[in-house]
Amino acid sequence: MIQTENLMKVYQMGDNEVRALDGASFTINKGEMVAIMGPSGSGKSTLMSIIGCLDAPSSGKYMLDGLSVESMSETELAEVRGRKIGFVFQQFNLLARTSALENVMLPLTYAGVSGKERNDRAMKALDRVGLSQRTHHTPSELSGGQQQRVAIARALVNEPAIILADEPTGALDSKTGVEIMELFQSLHKDNGQTVILVTHDSYVARHTDRIIKLSDGHIISDESNANPIKAGTPRIEE
């Protein structure tokens, strides 16, 4: 499903070369729930943006769903983002003054789906995240947890191959965070959805089946987590 080989990302900062990603190789299979973990500056955000086709690697190979991403044009990348990847961000990134339903419809609109089908699919996605009663509320009328649910519904609506969540609980209180983690776990268990969580928080990471740890642009460990935390288990630091 996701296959990377020696991914590199180099930024030029003045005279200095910054290697945000320095040779990352891994494979994530369909239906896995994986956490990419590391402190800030470890390169996990860079990795996420490359996996999400938001940015291109400086070198290395990236196969997504059998497609070689590094050779794609900008327009093709936009299509891949729209159809194969569902993003969930820390700050929700919903369109202001736009109803939940219309926010969820946005990826369908860009994918060329319109009319009743678009409406039905958006309603279904909102129903899946438990917000079928809030479809016409704008983000400012929703709580943080509800906004993140709308964002998850938006990520689900195109039935993407992967859900890519960047610190999805980072802006939420712990109780709401638990609800969101529950939702991810149920998407993974019930629907077999591939979920990739990017986080600095080992407690969040331990909700997944597999944890990839990054440091200074290198993968320092890639281990399966035999007993993922069930959402709602009190936070105990390692």
């Binding site: 936009a78 993003f87 961000f89 946005l106 609109t109 860009y110 319109s114 195109n158």
Partner: protein, 413 residues
């Protein structure tokens, strides 16, 4: 993606910032309104002047004193030059063919009284033919006759405006007015003719027999070296094809009378109405272009306003652009969205501006100064200009928005 979807997105973005959209649009509204109004007013003035000149007849030659200006300050020592009553008599005697009428006139401004009313009015001494060559209609009484001139009668004919000023709505014919203290009997009142197109009204006037003027009113100001002078001699030509011939004859006759050699500059002008018309048309055309250019500048400023706002909007909505790209928007879709936003702003501004401009032009017409002429091409011009400005000034911000790397845009704070 459908155009209508993009359009909806653009409209929503504009509505989200109503105040800002309105203010941005205002620049275009004012620009377009000025273009439409000024062009209409310019066209109206031109039409007005043209028709007022044509109403005097296109077959009129006007002889007036003065050297033909060869250029600014090209005259050197400008000698006063005069046209004499004798010149009129000469023309009267010598010109035979194709002549409908020859009309001398001497004009001066005097205080005209009746009872307690007193006005400074242009008093024109002339002959009976003046009425026809200048297209006046008599409302009451009669115009000056040949007999009045022969007898040097102290009779006066009032323009509609002057009659109203001096007598209100009351009958003027038969009453006595005094011009510079000299008593005149009012024998006629003219119909209103309206504005002459040169600021003054041709209805504020008093006409008296020219001979009476020389004998009893004008005094020494109307003579030069003991010769009676006139301000102008109008020659109405019966056949328009003979205009050039008659004009040449007049030039020849007066040149000889003024004892000018063939190398001397003329000390008088012979102008036809069509000469006057073409001069004035070129003046008003220049004026219209000038006004249009000013309006164009305000449109340009409005356009820059749009660009400014769109750039701010792109910066402000960087995150939104990033998100749109993350959920699958292509570069072209982002470009289209922002272009539609600017074009919508400028088109809406253009339409409102056109309505305002038409309103302004109608207001000018209603005020009675003159009739503004609203033409389809001035509206089309303003509309195209507004659209062009929208596309032109929207392109750069839209291009910037579309080219943002999604990751960079998403991380933008």
């Amino acid at each position: 993606m459908l155009f209508s979807e993009n359009f909806k997105i653009a409209i929503r973005a504009l509505r989200a910032n109503k105040m800002r959209s309105v203010l941005t649009m205002l620049g275009i509204v004012i620009g377009v309104a000025t273009v439409v109004a000024l062009l209409s007013i310019g066209k109206g003035v031109t039409a007005n002047i043209t028709s007022s000149i044509q109403s005097n007849g296109s077959n009129l030659l006007t002889v007036s004193p003065g050297k033909q200006q060869t250029g600014p300050g090209g005259g050197g020592s400008q000698q006063a030059s005069y046209l004499y009553y004798a010149d009129y008599q000469l023309l009267q005697r010598s010109l035979v063919d194709n002549i409908a009428a020859i009309v001398p006139s001497y004009q001066s401004s005097y205080l005209v009284d009746h009872g307690n009313e007193s006005f400074s009015v242009n008093v024109t001494g002339t002959t009976k033919e003046y009425q026809e060559t200048n297209s006046y209609e008599v409302a009451e009484g009669r115009f000056i006759s040949d007999g009045d001139n022969k007898a040097e009668s102290r009779v006066a004919v009032l323009g509609a405006g002057t009659a109203k000023d001096l007598f209100g709505g009351l009958t003027a014919v038969g009453k006595t007015i005094s011009i510079k203290g000299v008593k005149f009997e009012v024998v006629g009142v003219l119909e209103a003719k309206g504005s002459s197109g040169f600021g003054g009204s041709s209805d504020d006037a008093v006409f008296i027999p020219l001979e009476t003027g020389y004998g009893k009113l004008f005094g020494s100001t109307a003579t030069y070296n003991d010769k009676k002078i006139v301000n102008s001699i109008s020659v109405s030509v019966a056949n328009t094809e003979a205009m050039d011939t008659v004009s040449a004859q007049i030039e020849f006759l007066i040149r000889r009378a003024h004892k000018l050699t063939s190398s001397d500059e003329l000390d008088f002008n012979v102008l036809s109405q069509s000469d006057l018309l073409s001069t004035l048309t070129s003046v008003t055309q220049t004026l219209t272009i000038f006004l249009g250019a000013i309006a164009g500048i305000s449109l340009l400023v409005g356009g820059i306003g749009i660009m400014n706002i769109m750039l701010v909007s792109v910066t402000e909505r960087t995150k939104e652009i990033g998100l749109r790209k993350a959920v699958g928007a292509t570069k072209n879709q982002i470009l289209t969205q922002f272009l539609i936003e600017t074009v919508t702003l400028s088109l809406l501004g253009g339409i409102i501006g056109i309505l305002f401009g038409i309103g302004l032009a109608l207001l000018v017409t209603l005020s009675g100064a003159f009739t503004a002429v609203i033409t389809a091409d001035s509206i089309l011009l303003a509309f195209t200009f507004a659209l062009g400005i929208g596309v032109f000034f929207g392109l750069y911000p839209a291009y910037r928005a579309a080219n943002l790397t999604p990751m960079v845009a998403l991380r933008y704070e």
